[in-house]
């Protein structure tokens, strides 16, 4: 924050450097708990949060903030006072209990499967079965199963972005595919897309805030989504309302260190992911060309076998080994194409989303700073800080808190996802070599057996 601002803001950006924890660390950091206005749960409950014990300035402001919103009813109709997971009392209860991300209550399970092609007069498209199993009271039934198409997922994502602008929304697989280049109805394409959609939905379902979003609920439960869409209802959270109307064009004075660090990290990470994607593609290309040559190699041994006597069997054996290696290699390249590359690309999209959220945060902060500066310049000291400026300040704090929470969650997910991705890659390569090994080991006895002696040892 710039040195010009007279008032010390109880936001994470105003901390001295020592107090700001490394954005990439998973250790506990001292932060103001996020009084997510209107959101049913905050990202509290993760180990990063603990009540601020040091800065007394912050706690009362926060608590007052929370209490002032007790009168509101939550978007899904339940009064805020009830002990829903989002209310402050249960927040406090949960703080000490959950140690890690996985400790969150898993009471909502979703999956995407069973792609089917639909042919109508107007168009051909694919639908996917979306299954929900839940014990949450926000849902009327414990189980749902209905069909959705990509459009519907896209709608959901847009709605989530609109209504939860302070949160990071997981990415969807690419919307547009070049019609001539990619077959939209091929098994591989549909399967890759299905996996990505499944991942998207699961990430939303695992998010403590997003999963309670009304739009998400509708997506999972409404029989006729189209008519719902037509109603054009956008259920914005209070935060969403406020952030939506933040006009752009404010210049940010100084980005708080931790958010700047996030931005830097994302820039470098994007670069590295791009490099890894290129390397992976190159490897697949080289392996494909290797495969082409192997496919020519095997038949030569066969034709040689055709003009030999005693050597016929050994040569045929070698030929079949090379063939086996070819098949194994083909499987490897296919798997890498289908499983590895899409996940990498998805993370690039994820990073883009995160960068957008960071930008929005910057905007919110910039607006606040501008308004504050305007007030200062007016030298209107009598009434103190006007209400709208205070609202801006709250917005900044909330956004920062939400973002930090999502960032930590994202870092954790990223770590798990990449661990899984890379071990998967290693596994596939191991399997490839094991298949080849088995083939070559199996012909050693064939190669060693001598026709004349064999009859004697039988």
């Amino acid at each position: 924050m710039s040195a010009g601002t007279p008032k010390s803001l109880p936001s994470s950006g105003q901390k001295s450097i020592q107090d700001i924890s490394h954005p990439l660390s998973a250790e506990e950091s001292v932060l103001t708990p996020s009084p997510d206005v209107g959101n049913t749960t905050s990202s509290l409950g993760e180990k990063q949060y603990s009540f601020p014990l040091t800065t007394s300035l912050q706690a009362p402001a926060c608590m007052a903030f929370i209490h002032s919103y007790q009168d509101l009813s939550l978007p899904n109709g339940t009064p805020a006072g009830t002990s829903s997971p989002g209310s402050s009392s249960s927040l406090l209860n949960r703080l000490q209990l959950d140690d890690d991300l996985d400790g969150e209550t898993h009471d909502l399970f979703v999956s995407v499967d069973d792609p089917k092609k639909h042919v109508s007069t107007m168009e051909t498209y694919i639908t996917y079965r979306v299954t929900t199993k839940t014990s949450r009271t926000e849902f009327d039934l414990p189980e749902y199963s209905l069909r959705r198409r990509y459009q519907d997922f896209d709608w959901l994502r847009n709605k989530l972005e609109e209504s939860q602008p302070t949160h990071l929304i997981p990415p969807l697989p690419e919307k547009f595919v070049m019609k001539g280049v990619v077959d939209r109805f091929s098994e591989e394409f549909v399967e890759t897309r299905r996996k990505a959609l499944d991942k998207f939905l699961k990430r939303v379902a695992d998010h403590p805030v997003l999963s309670f979003n009304e739009n998400f609920n509708v997506f999972l439960t409404a029989k006729d989504l189209n008519s719902y869409k037509k109603q054009g209802l956008t259920l914005l959270t209070k935060m969403g309302e406020s952030v939506k109307y933040v006009t752009g064009g404010y210049k940010l004075r100084a980005r708080p260190l931790e958010f700047a660090a996030m931005g830097d990290y994302l820039d470098i990470f994007t670069q590295k992911l791009g490099t890894i994607d290129r390397i992976a593609q190159r490897i697949i290309k080289e392996e494909s060309e290797y495969l082409v040559e192997l496919r020519e190699y095997s038949p030569v041994y066969s034709s040689w076998a055709g003009c030999e006597g005693e050597l016929q069997k050994p040569l045929e054996g070698v030929s079949s080994c090379v063939s086996s290696s070819s098949s194994a290699l083909e499987e490897l390249t296919e798997d890498m194409s289908e499983d590895f590359l899409p996940v990498l690309r998805e993370y690039v999209l994820y990073i883009e989303s995160m960068k957008n959220v960071l930008k929005k945060r910057d905007q919110v902060q910039a607006e606040y700073e501008a308004k504050l500066e305007a007030v200062v310049l007016r030298k209107d000291e009598k009434s103190g800080v006007p209400a709208d400026v205070e609202k801006c300040q709250d917005r900044v704090e909330c956004f920062n808190a939400d973002l930090k929470a999502d960032w930590d969650r994202w870092q954790n997910n990223k770590r798990q996802d990449f661990r899984q991705l890379l071990t998967g890659m290693a596994d596939r390569n191991i399997q490839y070599y094991e298949k080849c090994l088995a083939a070559w080991e199996s012909i050693i006895p064939l190669l060693q057996e001598k026709p004349d002696i064999k009859s004697e040892t039988d």
């Binding site: 190159r282 080289e286 290797y290 040559e293 190699y297 050994p314 080994c321 770590r415 290693a426 190669l447």
Partner: protein, 429 residues
């Protein structure tokens, strides 16, 4: 292949514990190798003036021989040695080709590097090439030394033992002009009326062997090229993981060490492919052997053709005699026509002619007999060597395939090792 115990001797003992194959290789085969150990120990670069008085660099090879007395307890004789260059080996081989046309003469390692995959040097001065050539030359000498017929040749023996004067000695045998005419004959086209079916089949086989081994070598080189690319690209992972690990906290260590394994993986291909060159060399030997086999068949064709020509000439001479005796002209000859036109010959003239014909027929009979004997002997010798060759070829190629399979197995195991290590690092991320 290249140990001084002799390829056949060594392989015999390892593959043939019961000694069942002992009958195929007669005792004399091991005679030279019983008496001496042969090796091509070293290679060196020399510079000197060539035939056109220009400075050139060439490689010489050190041939070491050591007398081995199998009865003696102490076999520590000091080795004799001399230096030879590739062209002298070529001279020796050409001599052997001409002198023993019915033998499938062992080939020399290639003069220039062929079937090269891109990373491998095609430069004759490249140390790896020179080393593989050294091994090839040693292999050649051992094969000749273990051949039942070739091993007894004096020129060969002197090649191994007489540094000076060997060139003159081999030239004095007068083989060079024969070598030239042999080449001409091999490339000539002629039709044999009654080809020997066995040799026709053999020639056909030699063509197929040549075609299939050269195809195999070509494709193998391309396969090696591609495989090299696959491994080396993985090295890029090493660098990017390292760079990535710099911005990560918990994931950093795992990424960094995994990157090292990727580097190791990329580096491992160099040794793997170098070892595979040995397999390629074994295939190359039989590619060139196929040529030698074809030459033996062609020589037989030539002899057969000469035999048929001799028989035909004799037959026509006999026919001429018959015509002369009976007075009928069945065969057209200019003399006959002119004598018809310009009058008959005198009885004296006719008698003189008859005498000449009888002489020619006599010579013709002898020639035919010679050719027949030559042909039969050739067939006998060639067939015997062919059988020897087949046994050797089947054994050698089987060995080659086993070693190739072993190489593939080793490569797979290394791959599994590296990726398992990498996986461990990834799981610790």
């Amino acid at each position: 292949m290249a140990d001084s115990g002799g390829p056949e001797a060594a392989q015999l003992s390892s593959n043939d514990p019961k000694g069942e194959l002992g009958d195929v290789i007669p005792e004399e085969a091991r005679s030279l190798l019983r008496k001496m150990e042969i090796s091509v120990a070293e290679a060196e670069k020399r510079t000197g003036k060539n035939a056109v008085n220009m400075l050139e660099t060439y490689t010489v090879y050190l041939i070491e021989t050591r007398r081995v007395d199998s009865s003696a307890e102490n076999q520590n004789f000091s080795p004799d040695s001399l230096w030879r260059r590739y062209s002298e080996f070529e001279l020796l081989r050409n001599y052997l080709l001409v002198t023993y046309p019915f033998v499938i003469v062992p080939p020399l390692p290639e003069k220039r590097a062929e079937f090269v995959w891109h990373k491998l040097s095609a430069d004759n001065m490249d140390p790896d090439f020179v080393e593989r050539r050294r091994i090839g030359l040693e292999n050649f000498l051992l094969r000749v030394a273990s051949h039942p017929i070739l091993s007894n040749d004096k020129i060969f023996y002197d090649f191994l033992t007489e540094e000076n004067g060997w060139k003159e000695e081999v030239m004095e045998t007068g083989f060079q002009p024969k070598a030239d005419s042999r080449l001409k004959a091999l490339n000539a086209t002629f039709r044999v009326k009654n080809p020997d079916k066995r040799f026709t089949e053999l020639k056909h086989y030699s063509d197929e062997l040549q075609s299939v081994t050269s195809q195999l070598l070509r494709v193998r080189a391309r396969v090696a090229d591609r495989l090299y690319g696959v491994y080396k690209v993985h090295g890029n992972y090493g660098r990017v993981f390292s760079e990535w690990s710099a911005i990560e906290r918990e994931m950093g260590d795992g990424l960094q060490s995994a990157g090292h394994h990727m580097d190791a993986y990329a580096a491992s291909i160099d040794d793997i492919l170098e070892e595979e060159e040995n397999y390629a060399d074994q295939l190359k030997e039989y590619l060139f052997y196929a040529e030698a086999l074809k030459a033996v068949c062609r020589k037989h064709e030539l002899l057969q053709y000469e035999l048929e020509t001799a028989a035909q000439d004799l037959m026509s001479k006999k026919q001429q005699r018959e015509e002369l005796a009976s007075g009928t002209v069945r065969t057209f000859s200019l003399k006959g026509m002119t004598s018809k036109l310009f009058g008959q010959e005198t009885p004296e003239q006719r008698e003189a002619k008859m005498r000449v014909l009888e002489e020619q027929i006599q010579e013709g009979e002898e020639l035919l007999q010679e050719k027949k004997t030559e042909c039969d002997e050739y067939v006998r010798n060639a067939w015997s060597d062919m059988e020897r060759f087949t046994v050797q070829k089947d054994r050698d190629l089987r060995e080659a395939m086993i070693s190739y399979a072993v190489m593939q197995i080793s490569m797979c195991k290394k791959g599994i090792q590296v990726w398992t290590n990498a996986k461990e690092c990834f799981s610790k991320m």
